[in-house]
Amino acid sequence: MKPLTAGLCVLAAFTLAAAPAMSDAIFPYKVTTAVLPNGLKVIMIPMDAPGLVAYYSVVRTGSRDEVEPGRSGYAHFFEHMMFRGTKKYPGPVYDSIVTSIGASAIAYTSDDITAYHLNFAVEDLPKVIEIESDRFQNLNYDLQGFQTESGAIYGEYRKGVTNPFEVLDEKIRDLAFDVHTYKHTTIGFERDIKAMPEGYEYSLGFFRRFYRPENVVLLIVGDIKPDAVLKLVKKYYGPWQKGYQASDVKPEPPQTAERSGEVSYPGKTLPILDMGYKGDAFDPSNTDFVAAGVFGELAFGSTSDLYKKLYIKEQRVDALQASIPSQRDMPLFEIVARVKNADDIAPIRGEIEKTIAQFQSTPVDPQRLAGVKKRSRYEFLMSLDTPDRVAGHLAHTVAITGGIEALDAYYTTLAKITPDDVMRAAGKYFVPARRTTVVLKGVTQ
């Protein structure tokens, strides 16, 4: 049992804010947020989900924080290590507790987030809070366990490396970024993965620097009573000591000239054309950013003229889409086409550039714009049907902004986007100087 005194101090000091759901806001549930004195934020969302709880521990650290040379892949590696247990609950004991309560315990890592989540019955919530708070404060693993886990990481790399899109992603990031850590994928460079068994000491520092209350947000959704949950959270997480040390993530300098490259895939695949443009970090009040997402849908989505021409009528590509990701720092806005004939890559690229030019000079049809807005709202609402899906949706926003307020802000901005905004965003981001183009081709025919 952990000392209660710290938890009691917390009782008097925490802040609690409950925001009623607004009928005109996109997010339909009442949210209760509390921040403990040590900086741990807890977002609690009661839902009429009898007996069920989704519990997310969102660490606002991902592969973007891997600033040291040779250490790509450690955020993800560390995600694995978090299952190796503590002195109180060694890995096999943690596993058996999770098993005995029939929970689904999963974790994932990407550029900006490491998230740990469990779904379970509400009666097991106290136990889950106890074991989760324990491993976040007292993780303890030895060299052997660390080195064995590095083998599982390499296995995960080998599993993924046969996918041409992963090969492509690795290449375009490396080419597009000089300074920023988005230069590497989350799984990391293979050379760094190979060297992981020698990184034990570094990994301990990773825990000390990032697994701190100011850098973690708990998302607890389902059949819960916030007051009771908060008491338990304070009891178990209250003693957690501050100490977060933000990584010195260097901003990527502005790109001044177009870049291009090719990459070989050691297998057979249709060629893939990937055109990435330096975008903007997620900012729900940035009209240009939000309009860029609309542009991607209207110019290259399933209702676009280009999609209908190249995929349905002429059948020169078998996949075409744009990706405008929401990230903490400046990402690539990408347009990807899988091309049926290698000789057609340059003409397809020409078609994409022509489409961009058209959007830069001609406002979009207001009716199509309204369609994007309508779809976006219904898509979001229809996805909020279980505690896990609610928490899962919010986790990314929490990781990149620290809270969930940005969601409503994003949809408010989206509602105001005009055809001129879309035209301006196309002209701002989708220009040659921001572009990195990579073509992937298979080597086995």
Binding site: V98, T99, S100, G102, N119, G151, K268, K374, Y378, T444
Partner: protein, 501 residues
């Protein structure tokens, strides 16, 4: 009702269905899952056909026909128009085609039902069957077979080869996507003929769930009755050739690692007492994507050889993409299957031995009392994760119809966890699992060498780049010489380009 209330109601209704005793309403050709106040509506229209009905030489026809309904033009709208009309609704429809089932499914918000329903209906009742659509859909299928399956996911490749081998010579003997040559040969006439034969009003089960009203149900029944009449013959369940000893296929390709799948037909189906007993044994040995899996503990956690190791007593397509079982992939004949995700090439033979050694131990010794107790208490709650949404529940309700389960499989699953005994579980293991007669599919770079080593039962000692506990090293010495001798003529080496031809 505000949006918040609507959504809250969805959750309440969906989750309340997870409790034992909830019942879907089933009549001869209707499965209903009403969810009060749910603002969304779920459709699942099950046509009793699948890849087992593909004519010889036309393997892949069932899947392509379904795509010609859900991703193609109708007589009223071009495919482009359909995409335009669906887009603002945030709704779509699609098809799943497995060996025995084809299900056209979709979900829409009640606000958008009037715009959505005619499109969903005409997909099934008024397909246009244009050459342009067929060309596009065949091209996607061929890309999957020739490129994606052969080159970009060795674990899916291994599983596909395993299933094809076990059921070779039967209607189950090809994956739903078919073969390169058969897909190339499929014509519009083939599609029309398949559609006319199997998409009849007598050959469907209407599944409807969520916040629909009686008027919608009546309308859907009336509209689906427009389909022509006809009761196609039912293909008898397959009788796969009996396996005697191990048989292995090693797929030769330039693979960065070695993927292993193995299995054997079993004669137990969901709904029977033995199935639930076997589910406990299987969960202990290899619960999918869960660290409670014993194989996962032995191969990944203790030795770090790969990303995961699991086992199955039901078909589980797309295992790399999902964490819980899919719905509507029912079969009258199942296999017991072990899936070893890619391991380093030099550890391939060792991993094969390690998995078979654990499997043999389970078959010969059964579960201990502690293993049994922990696993059944795990499953009793864990199955709640299998169907959190109305759409998934409706899928399970259709599956209940397929297997003839009165009530709900998931409710029965939970209640069986309270009543089954260790003797039941170990009895089911004895009755349904056996060691030694298995089909093995391996994807490897140096297939010839691996074949020689397996045939000669050559010891496969393993070395690690890092230190391991003495207990693990001691067990490694046993695994390295665990006998898995397979007769040379029972091991075939097949270049990857020969698979799915």
């Amino acid at each position: 009702m505000t949006t918040a209330q609507c959504i809250g109601a969805v959750i309440a209704a969906a989750i309340s269905l997870m409790t034992p005793g909830e019942a879907s309403v089933k009549t001869d050709n209707t499965v209903l899952l009403p969810v009060k106040n749910d603002p969304t509506i779920c459709f699942r229209i099950w046509f009793k056909t699948g890849s087992q009905d593909d004519p010889a030489g036309k393997e892949g026809l069932a899947a392509i026909t379904a795509s010609m309904l859900t991703a193609a033009s109708t007589t009223r709208h071009s495919y482009e128009q359909i995409l335009d009309l669906l887009y603002p609704l945030a709704a779509s429809y699609d098809a799943t085609v497995s060996t025995e089932m084809t299900v056209i499914f979709g979900r829409v918000h009640r606000d958008n039902l009037d715009d959505y329903y005619p499109l969903f209906l005409e997909a099934m009742t008024s397909p246009a069957f244009t050459q342009q659509d067929l060309d596009r859909i065949k091209s996607l299928t061929l890309n999957y077979l020739e490129n994606t399956l052969r080159y970009s996911s060795d674990e899916e490749l291994g599983k596909a080869v395993l299933y094809n081998n076990i059921f070779a010579g039967t209607p189950y003997g090809h994956i739903p996507e078919g073969l390169v040559s058969s897909v190339k040969s499929i014509t519009l006439d083939d599609v029309r003929s398949f559609y006319n034969r199997y998409y009849t009003k007598n050959n469907l089960v209407l599944g409807l769930g969520g916040g629909y009203d009686a008027a919608l149900l009546a309308r859907l029944k009336r509209d689906l009755a427009q389909l022509p009449a006809g009761t196609p013959d039912i293909v008898p369940p397959p009788k796969p050739a009996a396996l005697k000893g191990f048989r292995a296929t090693i797929v030769q390709k330039d693979a960065p690692a070695t993927a292993i799948s193995m299995g054997v037909p079993i004669d137990v189906l969901r709904g029977t007492k033995d199935w639930y007993a076997l589910a406990i044994a299987n969960s202990w040995l290899g619960e999918h994507r869960n660290s409670s899996s014993h194989l996962y503990q032995v191969i990944r956690e203790e030795r770090g050889l790969n990303y995961g190791d699991y086992s199955y007593i039901e078909n589980f397509p797309g295992g790399g993409r999902r964490t819980v079982p899919p719905q509507n992939v029912c079969r009258r004949r199942q296999i017991f299957e072990i899936w070893i995700r890619p391991v380093p090439a030099e550890a391939g033979h060792f991993a094969l031995r390690a998995a078979l050694r654990e499997y043999r131990h389970l078959v010969e010794k059964g579960l201990t009392k502690d293993q049994f107790s922990l696993t059944r208490s795990f499953l009793k709650k864990y199955v709640l994760n299998y169907a959190p949404t109305t759409m998934a529940r409706l899928g399970y309700a259709l599956d209940d119809r397929f297997y003839g389960i009165a009530g709900s499989h998931l409710a029965k699953f939970r209640s069986m966890m309270a009543t089954l005994t260790l003797a039941d579980v170990n009895g089911a293991i004895r009755r349904h699992l056996r060691y030694g007669d298995m089909s093995i599919a391996i994807v490897a770079k140096d297939a010839g060498r691996l074949r020689e080593e397996i045939a000669a039962d050559t010891p496969s000692p393993i070395t690690y780049r890092t230190k391991k506990p003495d207990a693990v090293l001691a067990e490694d010495r046993e695994i390295a010489v665990f006998p898995v001798q397979i007769a040379p003529d029972a091991i075939s080496v097949v270049p990857v380009t020969e698979e799915f031809r």
